[in-house]
């Protein structure tokens, strides 16, 4: 079924949008997506260079439109959680790529001082309540953030980003039900890259029309083609602003995971023909072509922009390689609040047991 979708969209052009006007956000959306794409490519390089602390690196190449399109409508004070494939979302929300890369490298200079890594990166300053290595694990936090926004009348929205794999988890339905029941400012964004690890969505559910599930709970719910970042952004604007006004929402963004589940996964379970077609669903290339077609940017301007972004992201690798590991003593820090005693190291406990007066 998805292959049929691919064929249907393969020949699409942006003709319908030609002359869409100077108000278009496309240049900015393109820039965000290009930064994500390039960052993710550099994450792969960090891994190849043996500088990544985490063996579990999940790249969002092919899924950039979901991050860029939705985050374009988030404001200061809004919050979000992500899944394990969340680099792009954080970057789209304004993260410093050098501190991100340092965190992925397990370095002291990273967002979480090297304790979180790729899958547990967070930044309270940008409202990032945390990436999550448990499928669906970050979803209910947005219900709590929604309760806080209602209680403090902040007008903030909280967005849970997750993959199609998380639609198999009960906590998604519990959370959507609560958000709908209480009219909370929550948005559930399912980045449907067709695969939960090695399992295609068609092998995981009899009804892949995921938005229908959310609609059944009473949420405003849509599916959008992730090839077209402007379409994602338009849908996100409707749904995020609706949520802000008390109508929680669900958005499924259809896209294709260009590479394996994690860095070492070569996707032997995927048909090469399918992969090739999937990689033609490239939101970055699609937006680039549209910018040129519509006369919004010239090819040379875009080449220059891409080059600048490449240099910016190269610098994140250099920065990360130059950073130090966290000091060993920091291991006992932040288990509890700073004013609380740190847990006693095992070695100290053994010393005490074996001490003889």
């Amino acid at each position: 079924m998805y292959e049929a979708d691919l064929r249907a969209t393969a020949g699409r052009t942006m003709a319908g949008r030609v002359g869409a006007g100077a108000n278009t956000r496309l240049p900015e959306l393109y820039r965000t997506m290009r930064r994500i794409r390039t960052f993710e490519e550099r994450v792969g390089e960090l891994f190849v260079r043996g500088q990544s602390a985490g063996s579990m690196l999940h790249l969002s190449i092919g899924e950039e439109s979901a991050a860029a399109g939705v985050c374009a409508h988030l404001r200061d004070g809004d919050s979000f959680t992500t899944h394990h494939r969340g680099h792009g979302i954080f970057l789209a929300r304004g993260a410093d790529p050098a501190r991100m890369m340092a965190e992925i490298g397990g370095k002291e200079a990273g967002y979480c001082h090297g304790k979180g890594g790729s899958m547990h990166i967070a930044d309270m300053g940008l409202g990032h309540l945390g990436a999550n290595a448990i499928v669906g694990g970050g979803i209910p936090a947005v219900v709590g953030a929604g309760l806080s926004a209602r209680h403090h009348k902040t007008g903030a929205v909280s967005v849970a980003f997750f993959g199609d794999g998380a639609t198999g988890q009960g906590i998604l339905y519990e959370s959507m039900n609560m958000a709908a029941l209480w009219g909370l400012p929550c948005v559930f964004v399912c980045i449907n890259n067709q695969y939960g690890m090695g399992t295609n969505i068609a092998q995981a559910t009899a009804n892949p029309n995921l938005h229908e599930r959310a609609a059944a709970f009473g949420l405003a719910a849509e599916t959008v083609d992730g090839l077209d970042v402007e379409a994602v952004a338009e849908a996100a604007e409707r749904l995020v602003e609706g949520a802000r006004a008390g109508k929680p929402a669900f958005l499924a963004v259809s896209c294709y995971r260009f590479y394996g589940h994690a860095r070492k996964d070569k996707s032997p379970y995927r048909d090469p023909v399918e992969e090739e077609a999937g990689r033609r669903q490239d939101p970055v290339a699609f937006a680039r072509a549209a910018l040129i077609d519509r006369g919004l940017e010239s090819e040379s301007e875009l080449d220059r922009l891409d080059g600048e972004i490449g240099a910016e992201m190269d610098a994140t690798i250099d920065f990360t390689v130059a950073q130090t590991e966290p000091p060993l003593a920091s291991m006992f820090r932040d288990v509890y609040a700073p004013e609380e005693p740190e847990p006693e190291p095992v070695r100290a406990r053994i010393d005490r047991v074996l001490a003889r007066d």
């Binding site: 967002y111 999550n132 694990g137 219900v143 909280s158 959370s175 700073p338 847990p343």
Partner: protein, 331 residues
């Protein structure tokens, strides 16, 4: 100052009401906490006093109740999530152990999760295998979670009030058999600090370390022992994390004998941990092996006879102490 007679349930309710009055960010969420008033009546009428936006009735969705509390705590609320029975904690373990307990650490100290998870456990109501367990070991085994288990009316009040000021997630496990227990208390009196064990009785012959409902069985056993000429010290640890081992150590070193009493099953339980620590750290002072008196390694039956037989009682505690002190006690 003002002595009053309160039940354990009243004290818990008063702690919630006082905290909610003092701090407008305290909210309660859970199943049946509002209109129903709580399965054991602890939140009775709080919804009338504080409204449905602060006393939030939820669907039957334990994982999302705890998960929503995590998100609320990270964004400026002081949530009290209620889990009707501790037996349901397995449903919530991802949100509790993978999220609440680790968020401060994983995120490099950027933020804590100042929430309280109130629940209740234990035997005593013939509630069967899925509503009678003592699962505190699950919590104590997870770094990042604080754990309080009040045994007295005063502690029901004070430990809950203190839990609601703590910067880290606190699991607060009440005992279902204690809700109707009455004591005359002065809640204005300075409470024992959070994290300090209470020495409920002092005696020269052995130390009994316990918590929650078993405290009362240990005190009953201590009265029986006293009549036989054996004087027991009874320590109520009150908070299992943080654990006040210094108080335990001081009394074990003084008496040379220790028994640990817990309603949870014996194997790999709280009693096992306390026993290991006493053995390791007080080895040179011990006259006898540290003895665990704990729940049987079996599920709890609905039969009242089997239920009562599944957990320690005053007789087993007293008998065990007498055997430890055999030879020193007149037959």
């Amino acid at each position: 100052m003002a002595l009053q007679e309160l039940t354990y349930r009243d004290a818990l309710r008063k702690a919630l009401a006082d905290a909610m009055t003092e701090n407008p960010d305290v909210v309660i969420l859970g199943e049946e906490v509002g209109r129903y008033g709580g399965a054991y009546g602890v939140t009775k009428d709080l919804i009338k006093e504080f409204g449905a936006e602060r006393v939030i009735d939820t669907p039957i969705s334990e994982p999302a109740i705890v998960g929503a509390a995590v998100g609320a705590a990270m964004t400026g609320l002081r949530p009290v999530a209620e889990l009707m029975y501790v037996d349901f904690i397995g449903m919530t373990m991802d949100q509790l152990a993978n999220q609440a307990a680790k968020i401060r650490y994983m995120f490099g100290g950027q933020i804590g999760v100042p929430m309280v998870l109130r629940t209740q456990g234990g035997t005593g109501r013939s509630a069967g295998a899925q509503h009678s367990q003592s699962l505190e070991a699950y919590v104590m085994h997870t770094p990042g979670l604080r754990l309080a288990m009040p045994a007295t009316v005063a502690d029901a009040y004070h430990l809950l009030r203190m839990a609601l000021t703590k910067p880290d997630p606190v699991v607060f496990i009440e005992h279902k058999a204690l809700y109707t227990m009455k004591e005359t208390v002065d809640l204005d009196a300075e409470p024992l600090a959070w994290g300090k064990a209470a020495v409920r009785r002092e005696g020269r012959d052995l130390v009994i370390v316990t918590y929650s409902r078993q405290l009362h069985y240990c005190l009953e056993a201590a009265r029986q022992l006293s009549a036989r000429g054996v004087e027991a010290t009874v320590i109520d640890i009150r908070t299992l994390n943080p654990l006040d081992f210094d108080t335990i150590r001081a009394h074990v070193e003084r008496t040379g004998r220790a028994m640990v009493v817990s309603e949870g099953v014996m194997t790999a339980g709280v009693a096992a941990e306390l026993s290991a620590r006493i053995t390791e750290e007080c080895f040179d002072f011990l006259e006898d092996p540290v003895v665990r008196v704990a729940g049987e390694d079996i599920p709890i039956s609905v039969s009242t006879a089997l239920e009562a037989g599944s957990v320690p009682g005053p007789q087993l505690i007293a008998d065990t102490a007498l055997r430890m002190l055999a030879g020193r006690v007149p037959a």
